[in-house]
């Protein structure tokens, strides 16, 4: 059998150690570990010696949680999870509604995205991405073309849009757009016939003016600021400009670890959540930026490789979904940082500070590892 990349297979009769080694998808694990390490290093540099220094410790804690999540997602059979995919989506919708109701009572920062669970704050938006991927895997499992009639897909399609709508009204435009992009990407890569997707896409584009009308002022402001950052150099535009300055000032080899002046002198607001890439680019320069981009590129290709070698259709679709989610997060976030996209609050996988995003991506990679582990049919 051939995939994008082939590794030696495990075979019966070898030692336990070698069998254990063979159950682990090493390229996936190592890539994720490297990117996570870069994320921690970067967060350390960005927060050390500031009042945000405790963020590093809490992020290390979240990495531990993430690794556990990764292991559980790997061990539990994804096919079992698929059976409860719709229930999972239902739970997410309930959580989103709860967030919405909580938000009515205590408005903070113009949007509400959190549920407080003791010391934790759960962001159901991130869970929604996983649930949507699982539902997509289940929806697109049949190989019979007859299953892909409009009459069959209309109801599940509308149901999928419910979490998207709930996320959008939070309002979290970035995540809503991201969900749509994931759904479209999976559709394009897994639907037997591509034309329904084309129709949906064109219809969606026609809906953009409607979406614009319902957008909040601060969201419109961010779009304007993106289109012309210099026009409003005090608000959103300033964030984009300072981010561009930070990235550009890194030049070829960067200012060095913990030497980023934009970070050090606080010219990059909220740099640990949405703008960690500018911190990285400032301190490690073009070389460091390229290294990170290459790591992401390898990760994406490897996930697709796992998809190609999956033993069943659903597993492959899960991998496609995770690849799409990772791809759009990376591209939208870095484009935002480089002034190529408006600031929409999309995290950078494994690097942005924040437990919800980190754990979600670890679990997502666990699903891929699970597919990878079961490719030969245990």
């Amino acid at each position: 059998m051939k995939g994008l990349i082939d590794l030696p297979r495990a075979s019966i009769g070898v030692s336990r150690w070698r069998r254990f080694r063979a159950t682990i998808d090493w390229p996936l694990t190592i890539t994720v570990a490297l990117i996570t390490a870069i994320g921690l290093l970067n967060l350390y540099s960005a927060t050390q010696g500031t009042p945000h220094a405790s963020k590093f410790n809490s992020q290390v804690g979240w990495v531990v949680v993430g690794v556990v999540g990764f292991a559980i997602a790997t061990i539990v059979d994804y096919r079992a999870m698929l059976r409860v995919a719709w229930i999972g989506l239902g739970v997410v919708v309930v959580l989103l509604v709860v967030v919405q109701l909580l938000g009515r009572s205590a408005l903070a920062n113009g949007s509400t995205r959190w549920i407080k669970l003791g010391a934790f704050r759960l962001q159901p938006t991130e869970l929604a991405k996983l649930a949507v991927i699982m539902v997509l895997a289940r929806l697109l499992t049949p190989t019979d073309p007859g299953a892909y009639r409009w009459s069959n897909l209309a109801v599940p399609g509308v149901l999928l849009l419910v979490p998207v709508g709930l996320v959008a009204v939070q309002p979290d435009l970035g995540s809503a757009i991201l969900l749509v992009l994931v759904i479209l990407s999976v559709g394009y890569l897994a639907m037997p016939d591509i034309w329904p997707m084309v129709h949906v896409t064109l219809g969606g584009m026609l809906a953009i003016p409607v979406v614009w009308e319902t957008m909040h002022d601060y969201q419109k402001q961010r779009v304007f600021a993106f289109l012309d950052p210099a026009a409003d150099p005090t608000g959103s535009g300033l964030q984009i400009l300072q981010s561009i300055f930070a990235v550009g000032s890194g030049k070829l080899v960067g200012k060095g670890f913990m030497q980023g002046t934009q970070t050090h002198f606080k010219y990059l607001p909220e740099h640990w959540t949405d703008f960690p890439f500018s911190v990285w680019a400032e301190e490690w320069g073009f070389i460091g930026s390229i290294v990170l981009v290459i790591l992401y590129a390898f990760l994406l290709l490897w996930i697709l490789n796992v998809a190609l070698r999956s033993r069943d259709r659903a597993g492959a679709i899960i991998c496609v979904g995770v690849a799409a989610m990772t791809f759009w997060h990376v591209v939208v976030n870095i484009m935002m940082v480089l002034g190529l996209a408006p600031v929409v609050g999309v995290t950078l996988p494994f690097i942005s500070y924040g437990g919800s995003s980190l754990v979600t991506f670890f679990v997502a990679m666990g699903l891929v590892a699970s597919v990878s582990l079961r490719k030969h049919g245990y």
Partner: protein, 623 residues
Amino acid sequence: MMLSRGSASAGPALPELTRRLRAAIFVIAGALLLLVGRLWQLQVMRGDSYYQRTVSNVVKERFLPSIRGRIVDRKGVSLADNRPAFNLYVTPATYPVVAPELRRLLALTDEDADKIQDRVNAGAKHSAKSPVLALEDIGHDKAIVIQQAVQHLPGIEIKEEAYRYYPQGDLAAHVIGYMTQMTADELEHSAGQGYDTSELVGRYGIEAMFENYLRGKKGKERFAVDAQGRRIDDAMAAELIQGDRVTDPVAGFDVMLTIDSRLQKVAEKALAPYAAGAVAVIDVKTGRILALVSKPSFDPNTMTGHVTKAELDLLNRDPRKPFIDKSLRATYPPGSTFKFVTTFAALEDGQASEDEKITCKGYYQPTNQDCDAEHGTLDLLGAIQKSCNVYFWNLAQRIGLDRLSDVAQEYGLGRPTGLGLNGDAAGRVPTRAWYEKRPGGKYMFGYAINAATGQGDVEVTVLQMAMAYTAIANGGTLYFPQIVERVLDGDGKTVIDYQPRVAAIMKTPPEIVDVWKRGLYKVVNELGGTANPYATSSVVTIAGKTGTAEVKSKTRRERIEERTMEGWHPTNAHAWFAGFAPYEDPEIAIVVFVEHGGSGGKVAGPIAKQIVEAYFTKIKESK
């Protein structure tokens, strides 16, 4: 094409992906290459400029004010100095609204509080993180109150800054001058010379003329700030700043005047009873100005940066025009003090002699003009002593206008003295050609007659007359007037030492000058002289000539307007006294001018006497 199958027996698990893999990889590669391209553009192509940009984000520059030089009199008495002022600064970003606490601490009125709020709001628009000057010169007591409460008032600070201060008040105000803020035009002109928008510059007098010496050189401080505008002093900041953190300011030079402030005080006091006038006292051996008064005056402390619109309007509406320096900018008919010109011209040409007697019947036939009195038969000295116009009109008839003009110009009349202060005027010495050039102009005999007694179209400045009488007193050396003796550095070391400068040596033979001098002696010291006994002194022998210059009548409207000023009638004659002392060996020349003061002898004479006596009794000895 990389093929993939789920297992050996079945086809691929997701054949759609296999079919569309190429497109998927194409999209991924395209998107990531876009990012790499953008990174190349930002970091490699434009990296240097963005790097500079991040440095300028952090490293800010601030001017360190230089201490302006002082202006001192010839004895070192301070005429313009600096005092500490306490200014209230507010940073709009941290203190956007004037709270009741601040109002209470400063005991602010509603109006003041509003004014501060306006300034803070204006500053917030411009640059919210830099402090704006909210209230100037709040005084030591309030500064302490604020300083003690400053922990509860984030964004509020008190800065001690040097303010220009004129310890002698309005003494010699026209000489010292004042400072005001720069206009937008001037700012543009002086771009790069280190002026700030709020900065004061010398606007009048020595403050303006010696601006470049007084100003000094501003220092510069480079420091690092974070995005909140807080100063950061750490290793990274130091590395970014590169080079010197502080360039020390260089204090301005002190300017030492030739003025003696005590004599100046005496002169101003002597002139005090009159509404308007001017005095010049000159050291005849050097041409240095010992006192230079122009009245009405102004207080430079008020003018310098603090003058209100109302105060300025009041000064501008004053018909006596306080801002025109009456000692060297305004020009007046000199009256009989001008007769030295007529005397010298006639004697040099041999058109007159000391012994020639002319009879004055109280009027002059050819032009039908009246003399002040019926003087009877007089010789030249008698005519000088009694200021008989008829005698000089007769001389003028013989020598003509252009000859008068020649001598007047030789003695420095009709052109600026070259002092360079406050726009010293040229005045006017009319010639035949000048009259003919006027529109519809035609020379008439009467012009020479008028000029002979310093009337008609002759106009001079007080300082010009003082320099001419200096030349008469010292035996024929016409000096350029000098008001700055030296420029000193902060340690009192002389940087520039200005020497007396001779403008010209007069051609008038000494025996002719002596005739005039003897006449002037009689004016003051012999019975019947026009300044006797008004300027007669028992302390020192004063010699001088009085002048009572008629003024062209004004329009009725002007008269009504100007008559509101008490003791100052615009139709009154100007009172002059020009002379020197001691008669035997002259040391100082003095010109006293009282605008619309009336009789030269009665009004200007006593003033001159007071000043000269004070000089020889109090001031000269302490030299």
